[in-house]
């Protein structure tokens, strides 16, 4: 058993311990156990990283650690194994690293919650599930982790179970995720049918020899896997759950719905890149959907007033960028953006959480303002996060996003449309995040009755760590390329195109300036703009009415069918059958119970009758 298993075992142990004994130990202890196991897991990930770094690059891939053979049935073999290669270690580090920081933040953020230990138990469960997902060495455990992550997400979104909206949001997220799970499971069946195995290493080794590019079967497999990826990463058209998921506690939004879980789809495509390269059509679809989601979410984010929802839409939009990178085949750029995004998006969420915390749960940016002086550290870190998200030069977001935008034009599959939309989205991103920033931190306070204050040290410290990473994470770019290179088996060509870079830069800064102009010129200008584009504004504000469309097309008919089935099939069919089975069994038992007369002589008679029958066989057969 290699030490890499410890990465998985620590959070699992934390989860089990906190769920069994969480109620009996003190709050502080529960919190620090929750953090400690994730921290230990992070250290174990670092050990795994150093192991990898000390071996030659070409030996780093395909290192499967088998614990034992779990199932061996005819042609189906399943090992209890994890895959420790640069890609999974990269994900380990992000999950446990960002996870640890957010855990520490939660210690302070959730301090007043009565069900403190339950929260940490769920968080640990989530970390464990996510690690199972990225450590899986076959599609089976990938799906196990996939579903477990969905479960943890459900539990955490609905953590405040007294809040109806939270419970409904949790249900929505779960249902959407299960749609993805179904796609994944069917994909696994299709893979097993084609390859006779579920192991990543074997499947990827066999794939190029089995299929020609764009074979029906490989298209089917990649598309079904994509259903899972889209559902988990909130891409069109399965995106509706992500904004609603903001009903959960803010650290949850930061951890699950920004930094880690939603990137599982990106990870899946990176992991299965061998399959996707055999299906260029699917790649094209990924890039298209990614860029569409990016612009789509960006437009919706521009008009929302809930601070967390804006950030949630920006998450969707950034995920769109990652999918674009995946679709273009520049995997390590996508993974690099995944990493920087994890840093600055977790930072933004935590800073927003700090604001919400200070304002006693207020999430509407129209009621905020002027927090710049009162919360200097939160302000500074939020600004760094916003700059990184907007792709301001020299922040981490600049390096990763610029590279993706350039690739969208220069890669084989790239074209002008992709590039234009990506640049437009970058502008929108800069606009909406600075709209939030100006509303929240600049100007005069809009709710005089609130008494905001700077957050405690335990909340600020994580902000500072993440701010450092968000600011300086860009320098890791070349290293990420090199480290992940062996997995993807191809060098990423870095394009340099002064004109395009300048345009993108100016669009980004233009977004910031637009936000500033609209904001600083007072309310009137804003109202004017709002009225000038009233129909468009309504459309955006109502999120393109997608929830309503889904409601009309899917939910209502389903409900009608359900009501019909309840009336006819349930009550008159199943219930009747069940009742009758019970009733008939009762009747028959009553009839049979005559035989249990309680009289010894009758029993003896029955025994003799039995003997007679048995002897009949002995004599005549």
């Amino acid at each position: 058993m290699s030490s890499s298993w410890l990465i998985l075992l620590f959070p699992l142990a934390g989860f089990i311990f906190l769920s069994l004994y969480g109620e009996r130990i003190s709050k502080a202890l529960a919190g620090w156990i929750g953090c400690g196991v994730v921290g230990a897991s992070f250290l174990a990930s670092l050990v795994a990283l150093s192991d990898l770094l000390f071996m030659p690059a070409e030996e780093r891939v395909g290192r499967v650690h088998v614990l034992y053979q779990w199932i061996s049935a005819a042609s189906f073999k399943l090992d209890f194994a994890i895959l420790v290669d640069p890609l999974s270690v990269f994900m380990f580090l992000i999950v446990t690293g960002v996870g640890f920081v957010i855990h520490v933040y939660s210690v302070s953020y959730m301090h007043d919650d009565p069900e403190y230990s339950r929260f940490f138990a769920y968080l640990n469960l989530f970390i464990f599930s996510m690690l199972v997902l990225v450590a899986a060495a076959d599609f089976f455990f990938l799906i196990v982790g996939w579903a477990l992550v969905g479960l943890a997400s459900y539990l955490l979104i609905g953590f405040w179970k007294e809040k109806t909206s939270a419970v409904l949001a949790a249900r929505k997220a779960f249902v959407m995720n299960v749609i993805g799970d179904v796609g994944m499971v069917i994909a696994a069946f299709a893979i097993f049918e084609s390859f006779g195995t579920l192991s990543f290493v074997e499947v990827f080794a066999a794939a190029p020899g089995t299929f020609r590019p764009n074979d029906d079967q490989i298209l089917l497999i990649t598309l079904l896997l994509l259903v899972g990826a889209f559902a988990k990463s909130a891409q069109l058209p399965l995106h509706t759950w992500l904004p609603d998921a903001m009903e959960g506690p803010t650290p949850v939004s930061a951890l699950i719905h920004a930094a880690t879980m939603v990137t599982a789809g990106v990870y899946l495509i990176a992991r299965c890149h061998v399959l996707y390269e055999l299906a260029p059509y699917t790649m094209y679809l990924i890039a298209g959907v990614g860029v569409l989601t990016a612009v789509f979410a960006g437009t919706m984010g521009m008009v929302q007033y809930d601070i967390k929802r804006v950030i949630a839409y920006s998450t969707m939009s950034q995920l769109g960028y990652m999918f674009l990178a995946m679709g273009l085949g520049v995997y390590s750029l996508g993974m690099f953006h995944l990493m920087t995004h994890a840093f600055f998006k977790a930072l933004l969420f935590l800073a927003a959480g700090s604001v919400i915390h200070a304002l006693d749960g207020e999430q509407d940016i129209r009621k905020m303002g002027g927090l710049q002086k009162i919360m200097p550290l939160t302000h500074a870190t939020f600004l760094i996060g916003a700059l990184a998200l907007a792709g301001f030069p020299l922040t981490s977001g600049y390096f990763s996003k610029e590279a993706i935008i350039l690739s969208s034009y220069h890669e084989d599959m790239g074209n002008f449309v992709f590039w234009a939309i990506a640049v437009l989205t970058a502008g929108m991103t800069a606009f909406y995040i600075f709209r939030v920033y100006f509303y929240t931190f600049i100007g005069k306070t809009r709710s005089p009755e609130a008494h905001p204050h700077e957050s405690p040290l335990l909340m600020v410290l994580p902000l500072l760590i993440l701010a450092t990473l968000a600011l300086g994470g860009g320098v890791l770019g070349p290293w990420v390329d090199e480290f992940l290179g062996p997995v993807f088996g191809r060098e990423v060509h870095h394009h340099h195109d002064g004109a395009l870079e300048t345009i993108a830069l100016f669009v980004g800064i233009g977004g910031i300036v637009t936000a500033a102009l609209l904001y600083f010129t007072g309310k009137k200008r804003m109202e004017l703009v709002k009225e000038a584009f009233a129909p468009l504004y309504d459309l955006l504000f109502n999120k393109y009415y997608i929830d309503e469309i889904y409601d009309l097309l899917i939910v209502k008919p389903t409900k009608a069918i359900g009501a019909f089935l309840e009336e006819k099939a349930e009550k008159e069919g199943i219930d009747f059958a069940v009742d009758q089975i019970g009733f008939q069994i009762k009747e028959v038992s009553r009839g049979i119970s005559v035989w249990q007369s309680g009289r010894v002589r009758n029993y003896a008679l029955n025994m003799i009758a039995g003997m007679v029958v048995i002897l009949l066989f002995v004599v005549f057969l």
Binding site: R601, N602, L605, I608, A609, M611, V612, L615, L616, V618, V619
Partner: protein, 179 residues
């Protein structure tokens, strides 16, 4: 004209036949008498008949045990209990159950006999070659060598039975109420 062996054989067969039929008749008496006391007496006579048959089939020791333990101790116990509870006569009525029982019993009898003669069971003929066969010494040698464990277990069974009876006799039980 008659040699001694033939005469001896004939006599033995006659005795076995007579005693066997007597045993069956006595057992019939056990189940047909309405008074328990007569039943007990018929059972004693049945057992004595069986003891005789045991003797005729080279089982001297068991014949003695049969008389002492069964016809003696066990049946005396029965008689004591009958004396204690009162030997009331039992009303015999004819019911459907009873006819079913008779039907089944006769079928069973037929089947048992058929299974013993018609089936794969083979006739076995052997001769007694030892003078010792069936004597107390032979039984004892066998019992305390080959069957010592079973013997000890039997003693444990008897002990448990004794303890059980003491418990039943010593502690009184309240009648069980129906539901």
């Amino acid at each position: 004209m008659f040699d001694l062996a033939t005469v001896f054989e004939f006599t033995r067969d006659t005795v076995i036949l007579t005693v066997g039929i007597t045993a069956v008749l006595a057992s019939l008496g056990v189940i047909l008498c309405s008074s328990p006391i007569y039943c007990a007496l018929y059972l004693i006579s049945h057992m004595i008949c069986l003891a005789l048959l045991f003797l005729l089939y080279n089982a001297e020791f068991l014949a003695v045990v049969q008389i002492i333990v069964y016809a003696g101790a066990v049946m005396i116990l029965f008689l004591f209990i009958i004396a204690l509870l009162g030997g009331r006569k039992e009303v015999q009525e004819n019911s459907l159950e009873r006819s079913i029982a008779f039907g089944l019993i006769f079928t069973l009898l037929g089947e048992l006999y058929l299974s013993a003669t018609v089936g794969p069971t083979k006739q076995i003929e052997g001769t007694i070659n030892s003078e010792m066969f069936g004597t107390a010494k032979a039984i004892g040698l066998e019992l305390f060598s080959k069957h010592i464990v079973a013997f000890e277990l039997a003693s444990a069974v008897l002990l448990v039975a004794a303890v059980g009876v003491i418990c039943l006799a010593k502690f009184s039980f309240t009648p069980l109420k129906r539901r």
